[in-house]
């Protein structure tokens, strides 16, 4: 029976993906509010999925997502504005950096590398709250470094990339949708693999995991780096939208706090939870911001309190069969 439910939910998710993929063909969709709304939902869903990997599945509560988001955004802006990647090709193809997959993957890799370097000492020494505070500190340190990075990082103002490349929000929308579906499928597959088994073991009981042959530090650092890779790619996508990457915008704590709340409301440690949470919470945040601008933090805060009171395990676990919600 659960297998049946499993299959039908997969079909429902596939159908929703197709519908979302067809949205841009709707007359007038490109100029609609809904279109940019969905683009932001995708960015947040990807960020939430990244946080969910290390915190939801791995049990290591990181408060440093914004650091990796910012690193990804900066890497893209630095590579592009300084033309460090494509040399003379850039003159022939002035749009070569715009949505360049190499630039995007490099942005993810820089974030992942930073996470591995900071994760090794943090995860071998710190647990629980202390690890969380360590990652929070890392984000603040990075921000200061980028403010003082001189011409390389553009200082307190940041870097500007050629916004003349912008035509429509279409590529942003599709890349966002692709990343949302891609990260969900990848993490769903990962959690059914041997690595997923080890990650859950570490989350459930680190000492027992170690006594059963799992190199817990390696597993935790890999999850942290994987999570940072996802955040870095999201940062790269955002920089193609904003064309101005500054320390206050991309290292903003919101890039950590909102995905965290979305995941918790949707369901930590589930694949669909972060996506569902991103949809619902971003809708609440945005509607409150538009209709009651003076009170919107109150409405958003209230929603989170209510969600925690009535859905402590997340929305997904309420509406989906247990077997599916877990994976």
């Amino acid at each position: 029976m659960t297998a049946m439910a499993n299959i039908s939910w997969k079909w429902a998710a596939a159908l929703l993906t197709v519908i979302l993929a067809l949205v841009p063909f709707w007359p007038g969709a490109l100029d609609s509010y809904l279109f940019s709304f969905l683009f932001f939902v995708f960015i947040y869903a990807v960020m939430a999925q990244g946080w969910n990997l290390v915190a939801g599945f791995g049990g290591q509560i990181s408060l440093g997502s914004h650091a990796f988001f910012g690193l990804g955004a900066y890497t893209t802006a630095i590579l592009w504005s300084g033309n460090y990647l494509w040399g003379s090709l850039y003159e022939t193809f002035p749009r070569i950096y715009y949505f360049d997959p190499v630039t995007m993957v490099l942005s993810g890799l820089v974030a992942a590398l930073a996470a591995a370097l900071i994760g090794l000492p943090l995860l071998s020494k710190l647990r629980g709250d202390y690890f969380a505070l360590g990652t929070l500190g890392f984000g603040e340190i990075l921000k200061v470094i980028f403010v003082n990075g001189g011409d390389f990082t553009g200082g307190a103002f940041g870097l500007v990339t050629p916004s003349s490349t912008f035509e429509t929000l279409m590529p942003h929308y599709y890349v966002g949708l692709g990343l949302t579906v891609g990260t969900a499928v990848a993490i769903g597959w990962l959690m059914r693999s041997r690595y997923g088994l080890a990650l859950i073991a570490v989350r459930d009981d680190e000492m027992a995991a170690s006594a059963n042959g799992i190199n817990t530090l390696k597993v935790k650092v890999a999850a942290f780096a994987g999570s940072a890779f996802i955040a870095g790619i999201a940062g790269s996508l955002y920089s193609f939208y904003i064309f101005h990457v500054g320390p206050d915008s991309v290292f903003n704590l919101d890039w950590m706090l909102l995905p965290l709340m979305m995941t918790v409301v949707g369901g930590t440690g589930t694949v669909l939870g972060p996506i569902l949470g991103a949809f619902i919470m971003y809708a609440v945040f945005d509607i409150a911001r538009i209709f009651v601008p003076d009170y919107h933090p109150i409405i958003s805060g209230l929603t989170i309190i209510l969600a925690m009171l009535f859905l402590p395990k997340g929305l997904v676990r309420k509406i989906l069969p247990m077997s599916l919600a877990r994976n």
Partner: protein, 245 residues
């Protein structure tokens, strides 16, 4: 002492926490296929000795050898791969996993390449402890007794040559204790592995073990057959106090 004939040997293991000597020059040998009981009053150092063997603590002095190889100070996750599997006094199962997934962790990660077919090894281990019917039950919904059995299955799925049991009877009722004794007996007879068993319930140890080691205040005070142990003056003193003169 011929190292190739012993599975586990501790040589003059001493462990100090600051000024407190918890283990004082412990020598201990476990041979192939032996079922050795380790008893002692509270605070005797049994758990610390376990933690030294499984590399959770490094000994202040002394060596731990496994099949002749010095494993003192190895990384904790290597111990199981060498072939030393353990259970915990305060049960440590992976609560959000099913019974089968728990056992798979031992088969996949604990075996260090010994297990070729992890699924088969996991099924066999569940069968061994009698939990096959509960393979898809989430561990959080299992009884303490089943979780203790599950820990043994998880340990056995890594196909170890030495199994360390840390008070597997703690918190069990008499029926469950009989079941546990049966599982331990079966594990030893079917798999032919060595077992070192720490226990508070001395009567269970005396019935099942071929050899018993007694610790008191970090010192080994006796090592012999159950018959020798119950007649040992030092052991009686450790448990009941000195006789009135």
């Amino acid at each position: 002492m011929q190292s190739d004939e012993t599975v586990l040997s501790l040589e003059a293991v001493t462990k100090r926490f600051g000024g407190l000597v918890v283990l004082d020059g412990i020598d201990l040998v476990v041979g192939p296929g032996e079922l050795v009981g380790l008893i002692g009053p509270n605070g005797a150092g049994k758990s610390t000795l376990f933690n030294v063997m499984t590399a959770i603590y490094a000994p202040t002095r002394g060596k731990v050898r496994f099949k002749g190889k010095d494993i003192t100070g190895a990384a904790p996750h290597h111990i199981c791969r060498f072939g030393i599997a353990r259970t915990f006094q305060l049960v440590r199962t992976f609560l959000t996993m099913t019974a089968f997934e728990n056992v798979m962790v031992g088969a996949v990660y604990g075996s260090g390449g010994r297990v070729r077919h992890a699924r088969d090894a996991a099924e066999a281990a569940l069968e061994l402890v009698g939990l096959s019917a509960k393979r898809n039950v989430t561990t959080a919904h299992m009884t303490l007794s089943d979780r203790r059995l599950l820990e043994i299955a998880r340990a056995m799925a890594s196909e170890p040559s030495l199994l360390l049991l840390d008070e597997p009877m703690a918190g069990l009722n008499p029926t469950e204790i009989r079941q546990m004794v049966e599982v331990i007996r079966r594990t030893r007879s079917e798999k032919g592995i060595s077992i070192l068993w720490v226990e508070h319930k001395v009567d269970a140890i005396m019935k099942v073990c071929s050899r018993v080691v007694v610790l008191d205040h970090g010192v080994k005070i006796a090592d012999g057959t159950p018959v020798e142990i119950v007649a040992n003056r030092k052991v009686i003193e450790a448990y009941l106090g000195e006789p009135a003169a």
